[in-house]
């Protein structure tokens, strides 16, 4: 849990720094932005790796109706429901923030659309993981890429939303588990 908490804090700080660097005199510093992005990715990967072990426990609790299907891979350890929802909420918050940042960076127009997306994504924390992985690229920092980046984001968002609706409706296990490589990194960091 310490890893997740630290990873989350690191991600949040990185986002804050990336955001404030926009108003910095002299313009965006490419090296600094790149390093912050790498730290954020690293922290995010470790966070999700830590979350994967939690989720396999939690999956059983999240979809109560066809509970049997969701319990594949559940281990013996159980946690109180309150803590789980809090964790899920925190996870969604962490994965949400990167998207919020890139959206703000890219453009400020379709805000309402994004807010709806946010609400949907709140329900399923791991869905956005793949989505945000694609979006948080260096291109967001580079002004020349601005126009094409906006279009890409919108289309991705549409597909993710439809996928999320499916997740909400059905009961299957959420998302693909992180690769074993990331788990090793998470373990090493502890």
């Amino acid at each position: 849990m310490e890893v997740s908490a630290e990873a989350k804090r690191i991600m949040v700080v990185a986002l804050g720094k990336l955001y404030s660097s926009r108003t910095q005199r002299g313009g965006l510093r490419l090296q600094r932005s790149l390093l912050l992005t790498l730290v954020m990715k690293s922290a995010r990967d470790m966070y999700h790796a830590a979350q994967a072990t939690v989720e396999s426990v939690v999956a059983g609790y999240e979809q109560p109706q066809p509970a049997a299907e969701g319990t594949t891979g559940t281990t013996g350890t159980t946690e109180p429901t309150g803590a789980q929802t809090e964790l899920l909420g925190a996870a969604s918050l962490a994965t949400e923030k990167p998207r919020t940042l890139t959206r703000v960076e890219v453009s400020s127009s379709p805000n309402e659309f994004r807010r709806d997306a946010e609400n949907k994504e709140n329900m399923c924390p791991t869905g956005p993981a793949q989505h945000s992985r694609k979006r948080r690229g260096k291109a967001a920092m580079e002004p020349d890429f601005l126009p094409c980046k906006k279009a890409k984001l919108c289309s991705q968002q549409l597909s993710v939303n439809s996928v999320l609706l499916d997740y909400v409706n059905c009961s299957s296990k959420l998302g693909a588990p992180p690769s074993p490589m990331l788990l090793h990194r998470a373990i090493a960091a502890c």
Binding site: I10, Q31, R32, S42, A189
Partner: protein, 458 residues
């Protein structure tokens, strides 16, 4: 700093009530003889100091060379002004990132100074004589009435007060999309390179009296086709001191690439890649940040490379690309504090590193106004302090220690009481003597090593 008449010897203490951002020194560089020392600051100004050839004032044993002089202000000028890129709506800082002197070819001195985008070539010349006794002009330069001229006289050169003129001779602009981090003059004396995050440009200076020829080419370009694939940037670059076709550049991933310009016009394939395999045991969230190389310097011999990353300084042998031959821990006690250093932005600080004239000692900066020197032969390091409270003129610098567990000695500084706002990022070592220039925020410290210890005042 500043243009005011503060021309007192600079190794006296400065008394300032506050530090203005513009006065923060951002680069320090000796010229090839060491007689001139240039500093650049965040306000875009350049101050040149000149070494006195005779010692004045107190009677002190003069060095064998006769050159025990101190450095006094020689000239000050505004190199760069704040600028604005209208196309991208970006402000361009006037902060001087680097200064490099050109090898001297005549009485005048030339230096290159650069901010984030524009490099300028400056000519520094002295004038201490002026002609007097013109036939057609009077003292003020007004034309005389020809009827009053009854005899011919030959104008005579009369000495005047020394005047130092600094004039811009060339402005190299629009060469960089990203922020310039390094410039380096080639050993051929005719070309120089400038490096930004993704590209290195080579420029030609044809220094003639009146006109210049200019030729620009792109010699390294690491910009990926898709910026999302970007994984590393160029952090520093330097030409080999003797071989005009070789140069090195460092990356944010901690690797060095040695390039040979004879191989191809665009050096996107390096001749040699210097990389140290990552130690999996020391991996943390911040591994990428702390492995980024902040400075790279060739040794004077041209045989070795010195690099600085956040916690260490490394010496690499050009003949060995598998890893550094020497690694020096600059402030290992910070490894457990990386998270807070990340939060207060200190983890992004870029420290410079320098060689001494014989390549036997390396030096780099740290926090709390500390800087470190490492003797390559013994492998031992000392910590010194550039702080006016402890640096009275002519006093011997005493070594400092940072206490991080173990036996504590009197005078040791605890890790938690280090002042991270007092960082020694920029420094220079005289090309032939043991004289060092240390920039500590807005102050410049010059320390000289006396040949015979008896002349030192305790």
């Amino acid at each position: 700093m500043g243009e005011d008449a503060e021309s007192t010897k600079i190794n006296h203490t400065f008394l300032r009530d506050y530090v203005t951002e513009a006065d923060v020194i951002s680069t320090v560089e000796f010229n090839q003889t060491g007689d001139l020392l240039a500093t650049g600051d965040k306000g875009g100004r350049v101050v040149i100091f000149q070494r006195e050839t005779e010692s004045k004032g107190e009677s002190e044993e003069v060095e064998e060379t006769g050159d025990s002089g101190e450095y006094n202000v020689y000239s000050t000028f505004q190199s760069h002004e704040p600028d604005f890129d209208y196309l991208k709506s970006l402000e361009i800082e006037e902060k001087i990132n680097k200064i490099r002197w050109l090898p001297q070819q005549n009485a005048a001195h030339f230096l290159l100074s650069t901010n984030d985008k524009t490099i300028k070539l400056w000519k520094v010349s002295e004038r201490d004589k002026r002609p007097e006794g013109y036939n057609l002009k009077d003292e003020e330069g007004r034309l005389k009435d020809t009827s009053t001229i009854t005899s011919l006289q030959v104008p005579v050169l009369k000495s005047t007060d020394l005047m130092v003129e600094v004039r811009p001779r060339r402005v190299f602009s629009n060469g960089h999309t990203y922020h310039v981090n390094s410039i380096s003059v080639n050993s051929d004396g005719e070309t120089y390179m400038s490096a930004d995050d993704l590209r290195i440009n080579m420029w030609h200076l044809g220094i003639t009296d009146r006109s210049f020829s200019l030729f620009l080419s792109d010699i390294v370009d690491i910009k990926p086709a898709n910026m999302e694939d970007l994984t590393e940037v160029i952090t520093a670059a330097e030409f080999h001191p003797h071989h005009c076709h070789l140069f090195v550049y460092s990356s944010s991933k901690g690797s060095l690439r040695l390039c040979d310009m004879r191989a191809s016009a665009l050096c996107d394939r390096h001749t040699k890649l210097f990389e140290e395999p990552e130690d999996p045991g020391s991996r943390s969230f911040f591994s990428e940040i702390i492995s980024s190389v902040s400075d790279v310097k060739f040794s004077h011999s041209g045989r070795y490379l010195l690099t600085r990353d956040y916690l260490t300084a490394k010496v690499w042998d050009l003949n060995m690309d598998k890893g550094p031959v020497e690694t020096y821990q600059v402030h290992e006690y910070l490894r457990s504090k990386l998270c807070s250093l990340y939060e207060n932005d200190c983890i992004f600080d870029k420290f410079e590193c320098v060689w001494n004239s014989s390549d036997s000692v390396i030096m780099t900066g740290a926090y709390n106004s500390f800087f470190r020197m490492f003797d390559r032969e013994t492998g031992r390091g000392v910590t010194l302090e550039a702080w006016r409270e402890s640096s009275k003129p002519r006093a011997v610098l005493r070594t400092r220690r940072v206490y991080n567990g173990g036996k504590r000695r009197r005078g040791d500084v605890g890790v938690d009481s280090l002042d991270f706002t007092k960082k020694i990022l920029h420094m220079a070592w005289h090309p032939s003597e043991n004289i060092i220039a240390i920039a500590a925020t807005n102050n410049l410290y010059i320390f000289q090593d006396r040949v015979s210890p008896e002349t030192q005042l305790q």
